[in-house]
């Protein structure tokens, strides 16, 4: 009979944490390799393609940064609500609604406005739409005690279906030959990118600024202190007189708003129109959850974890195009890495100890 138990680790050095994370990624790659092998592809070649595609070339880096932009924005916002233990898994929907808001302003309400005013206005609209989408579950939680996890999750589908309704229906573009997109934005609204890349500089800058702002908010202000107390122990929050409802609402306005900004950035910088939900976001709202956790809910560290996951997404795309794998393979690949990272985070907190039979020696 195997004798073992789970123990909490007392001290965790940085080197140890890094080693565990590396081991987790390595294990994920190992299992992925088996899958590549079973599909008749040399695993080494596939892995080289993935990393060359994301971190191994200038082009790869540009794409990696592009994909990390929405992750930075969403991840920073999630740090705030997750610190309050409010489980917002609806960033995907908040991102999509942000895209709707930006489109509404840029294409329908004020298409004639000077781009220098309209672009900020579209970002603002994105923020507001995302924030409102995030406000709904916060209000339901605060007023009616409805579980936020389910509400935020379900609102994702509603947002996605709403976009489909818009692009197949009232907003369907007249110049798009019947394809389900809106018309393109005016060329003057296209965001500037780094040369020969899709890195939309403004959104990247906004992302980094907000990562710093969120860090400051969380670790330097009264609001952040109240959030962290409430998250660590809501009863202690009540005891000290913190108004939990105010905090959750404000936190979700920020978190939803930043996801909305990401949505506005994606369509302004990359797509230049409202299109299929799956095209606007390749699951950024969900990937950002693990990005925030791996960043230890510290928005500054989230910038780093975002780039790592941006790279994984790009690497997935690379093997899709070069090895002709179906899209599902990529999702399996990313899923495996996430899965092993989650196991890794468990081993950062705990150890499994085998109880050696020889240890129970009897002294007489």
């Amino acid at each position: 009979m195997a004798r073992w138990r789970i123990e909490k680790r007392e001290k965790k050095s940085l080197g140890f944490v890094l080693m565990i994370l590396l081991l987790s990624v390595a294990s994920g790659l190992l299992v992925a390799s088996i899958i590549f092998f079973l599909r008749g592809v040399n695993p080494w070649m596939a892995l080289t393609k993935i990393f060359a595609g994301s971190f191994g070339s200038v082009y790869g880096w540009k794409e990696t940064i592009t994909k990390s932009i929405p992750l930075i924005l969403i991840g920073s916002g999630l740090c705030i609500v997750f610190s309050a233990k409010f489980w917002n898994i609806g960033a995907e929907g908040q991102l999509l609604m942000g895209a709707v808001g930006a489109t509404l302003f840029g294409l329908f309400l004020f298409p004639k406005l000077n781009p220098a005013i309209l672009i900020p206005l579209m970002f603002l609209a994105g923020f507001i739409f995302g924030a409102i989408w995030g406000l709904i579950p916060a209000l339901l939680k605060v007023k009616l005690k409805i579980n936020e996890t389910i509400v935020t999750l379900m609102l994702n589908y509603i947002a996605a279906e709403f976009i489909l309704f818009l692009i197949y229906g009232p907003w369907k573009g007249k110049t798009q030959f019947g394809f389900p997109y809106t018309d393109n934005f005016a060329k003057s609204l296209y965001l500037k990118t780094f040369p020969e890349s899709r890195v939309h500089i403004i959104t990247l800058a906004i992302g980094i600024v907000f990562a710093i702002v969120c860090w400051f908010l969380l670790y330097k202000t009264k609001f952040g202190y109240e959030i962290r107390i409430t998250g660590a122990n809501p009863e202690a929050g009540k005891y000290s007189g913190i108004k939990t409802s105010k905090i959750l609402i404000f936190g979700m306005l920020i978190s939803g708003g930043l996801a909305g900004l990401a949505g506005a950035g994606e369509i302004l910088g990359i797509h230049h129109r409202l299109c299929q939900p799956l095209t606007i976001s390749s699951g950024y709202g969900f990937t950002a959850i693990i990005v925030a956790w791996l960043g230890n809910l510290n928005p500054i560290l989230v910038v780093i974890t975002s780039i790592f996951f941006g790279g994984l997404l790009v690497g997935g795309d690379a093997i899709k195009s070069s090895l002709g794998f179906p899209h599902a393979t990529i999702e399996i690949f990313n899923g495996l890495i996430l899965f092993f990272l989650l196991i890794g985070t468990f081993f950062i907190q705990y150890r499994i100890r085998l109880l050696n039979k020889n240890e129970k020696g009897i002294k007489s």
Binding site: R3, E359, I362
Partner: protein, 513 residues
Amino acid sequence: MNQKEKFFSLRARNISRCFGNIKANNSIDFSIEAGQIMALLGENGAGKTTFVRILSGLDQPDSGEILLNDQSVYFNSCRTAQKMGVGIIHQHFMLVQSMTVAENIALCDTDSSFIYSENKINDKMKKFEEEYGFFVNPNAKICQLSAGEQQRVEIIKALFRGTNVLILDEPTSVLTPQEADKLFVILQKMKNEGKAIVFISHKLREIMDYTDAVTVLRHGNLVGCRNVNDITQDDLISMMTGEKKVASIRKENVAVGENILKVASITVLDDRESKSIKNMSFEIKKNEIFGIAGIAGNGQRELVEAITGMRNVSSGKIFIYNEEVQNSTPKHVYSKGVAHIPEERIRFGIASGLKLFENTSIRNYEQRPYSKQSIMNYKAIKLKAQTIIEAFHVKTESVDTEIQNLSGGNMQKLIVGREMVDSPKLIVASHPTYGLDIASTKYIQQELLTKSKEGAGVLLISEDIDELMALSDRIAVVFRGELMGVLNREDVTIHKIGLLMAGEELSGENNNG
């Protein structure tokens, strides 16, 4: 051993268990025989709980072995231990509140078939009850039962499982003195049936009166095992603390001054909207310690929450120095000079996961210099935290330590320090020494006395009658949301308090409530 075999002894040899660097159990030997009641005594942190967890299969030792009838056994879970006849009753009962007694018993009945037979359960229950002389209604819901009755359900559960060794973790802490007496009658009968009983207790009187032997632990080590006939209470104290004598604490009589707190016929609703405090009134004066005794769940929590601004009153008024404070906020009440030492420190008093210094400011972070406008001043907070840990002897590596790494006693000293460092006018202390070792208990009691001497009024809520009698000027007993009587310190006896706690009137006796 299979269950049919007759039980005669349970032994543990060289049991050791470490948590990190702390040796919770260091090579402990233990032995109990059929027909014996054994107390397990020790200060908090002595390793009693760890030891009974190992004995009952909830935890496994790093080294050492357990012998049942002189055969080595290994309990890899409490289920295995139960199968071999070793069962434990936790301090907090493991009962499904919304189910009936019979249903709860069916859950643990190893013989029960897939289809639940109420009659069979009832018959078997009746048999046990006749044997041991107590009765519990099988159709009552658990939530309708008193703590004592719930404990009896736990005992029946253990009997159903064929338990030979019954371990009880502080079984009397939730009982009135009278209920505790009844418990010991049952345990005595079990003993006569050839069962073995192990119980953890802090109460020396109980140990001297009801047990055959006592095993004392200190700092994870075995101090010794004694027959109770051979020793005195003083011996037990010195075995437990390692000191010869502990100076007893007693409040001096002081002239009390003006009113600090006035509670005027308040009614308070609990979370289920039923009245948990009914039309209650009392006053606390300067320099006075006002104790409230009672079994947990008789409205103490709601009373404290109403006074400290955490809960609204549905009628009545609360005055601090003639200013109405009912239905305000905790921050407002705190700003009037009311300190609050909450019950269950880990659940209410600290935010675990945060650092020590972040925990010292949770009451006053809105005041200068701890924050200005919206920006926190963690430097000032750290300085204050440093002052508190020095003044109140909190043992910690630094103010940056994560709060959950402090021991229970140090955590409580930190909370007490945080609440008392700025000389409050009124201290609301809810079970301030619950679960602490003797040294920390004395320290905190002394702090309460010092503050009251300096002029603070103290509302002391406690389940520890000895503590209330030592510290309070007046003691009230709360039962189902009403004060059953207010006794002056010279009129107080344990017997009187026990009667009041059970909701009985003191007929023909003096009480000036």
